[in-house]
Symmetry: C2
Subunit: 304 residues, 2 copies
């Protein structure tokens, strides 16, 4: 079971060459991340985008373009479609976003004709390595689903559980985070947490165990759970942390990275192949981790 981001990068290196399809690759930050992944033996890449822009950046940043296949496509919409098709046709393993709006690349991913649509919900899964904890936390969804309803939350859990499986955790514990540990009808998130526990017991969420509602401390620390008198033996042992809404997720994500100095990775899952979206605010290491995470997921024997 992979429980550090370093182990994740090593596992991907050990799998042999994997390929990124970079959509609208004419972005210096993205090209630098891709080239770092290549130099470290994590991935090769096919660059789809504005050839002149890519060549200019490569010259300025000393990126050896001869190490890459380049598909000229100046139009960002077409570049996204081409990158997605490369994955669909088995020429690449993962789609990576370059200089194009997220909505454009996701539209190509979800395209009925050339896309990679699988389940009904795409969601973001973030991985965090926090000092003092012996395991990775999977936090979802901190970036994509704004205010998911109960059915959407089930898909978000399934997507995250698939990621945990890909990293060798066969039975992750999913905690439904809330502000309190008891069901309170004034807090809809607590009602949905209880419903998700029931859904898991009823077999709707295979390959995981679900606990909640829990506050964050009782989800990750057995000592805190004991202190609060929580009986559920899963409390304190969560791997996956389901946040009730995007504000909770985003503030949690930012507090982990910027205030708790956690290391991280992130990926969009729910399609037939994962999608990497790095942001300028990501550290170089976080960008590499995200590429490695996506490749690890694509390599797993999950049913596509």
């Amino acid at each position: 079971m992979i429980q550090t981001l370093e182990a994740l990068r090593d596992a991907v290196k050990g799998q042999g060459s994997k390929t990124l399809a970079v959509a609208a690759a004419g972005d210096a930050e993205v090209l630098l991340a891709v080239d770092m992944a290549r130099r470290l033996g994590i991935a090769s890449a096919i660059l789809v985008g504005d050839e002149e822009k890519i060549r200019t950046i490569a010259a300025q940043r000393h990126i050896p373009l001869e190490a890459y296949r380049l598909i000229p496509e100046a139009d960002p919409v077409q570049a996204c479609r081409t990158a997605v098709k490369l994955v669909r046709d088995g020429e690449a393993d993962v789609v990576m976003k370059g200089l194009v709006d997220t909505s454009v690349i996701l539209k190509a991913v979800l395209d009925k004709e050339i896309g990679l649509r699988k389940g009904p919900v795409l969601s973001h899964v973030a991985l965090f390595q926090v000092a003092g904890y012996d395991r990775l936390f999977y936090v979802t969804d901190v970036a994509m689903n704004i205010a998911p309803d109960l059915e959407t939350k089930k898909h978000i859990i399934r997507n995250a559980v698939g990621v945990a499986h890909a990293l060798g955790n066969p039975d992750p514990i999913v905690a439904c985070l809330c502000a309190v540990e008891k069901v309170n009808p004034k807090m809809p998130a607590t009602l949905e947490a209880a419903a998700l526990v029931e859904a898991c017991k009823a077999g709707e969420l295979p390959g995981c165990r679900v606990v909640g509602p829990l506050a964050l401390d009782n989800a990750v620390s057995p000592e805190a759970a004991r202190h609060k008198g929580i009986q559920d033996p899963l409390a304190g042992h969560a791997d996956v942390l389901l946040v009730p809404n995007i504000e909770t997720g985003n503030v949690f994500y930012k507090s982990l990275v910027f205030l708790a100095r956690a290391k991280n990775a992130g990926v969009i899952v729910g399609a037939k192949a994962p999608v990497v979206l790095t942001s300028r605010a990501d550290s170089d290491e976080a960008k590499l981790n995200s590429i490695a995470l996506a490749l690890m997921i694509s390599a797993s024997n999950l049913p596509r």
Copy 2:
């Protein structure tokens, strides 16, 4: 301007004796916190509660009851009313919750006849001291208001700004935290953030400056704000962090204390005197800090 929790405790010590009115004081953890505050010269206390219970705990925990005034009152509802009346009559400065439900003590605080009602909204303000930052963050509301509407958010801001003023910050910067930095009609918190900025410009939120919507990193780090291309000069310099809902606040609070190892304090404000509610999960230092925070607020020359 007080910018560390140690400075806060020192400032309260420097003010001379202040008094807590402890409601339903027959709780070992609460009595130990109160006695620690007494020994450190932060506060004395009047203990209202079940005399036998208080005497038993005091004997077991070596708490010198002769240092306290004790008002026997076995009924928790009456104990809350008595403690509130002590503050109202000027015999004590702050109400502190003992072994009684929060709802019971707040009912006494809000009682029209004997209570301390002032504005229309009570709210929780948490103070955090985070390693690497040179100032205290005021986070609100992580514990009381579940899903505040725009008008309630205005009161929550006013309450938190009053706390910042009490700690010597005459013009705190309030950031309205969201998942993104741009107004997005699909995310109501961003619309309300923009409305709060306008309300401040219109004079509805005096004694502060409001900025938002901002993600957490752009609220607290000028470098992150620059990196994201945010023009507002207030971005990155927030003192007060307004969270959009209780889940965001509670997960943020727990991640700061349990994952970022921040030091903290908390208090309920909005009444004529602050209310201290410590929890078993608080460290001894956090309990002391909360008592000091409440006493600092009660001592400030805020209009009551």
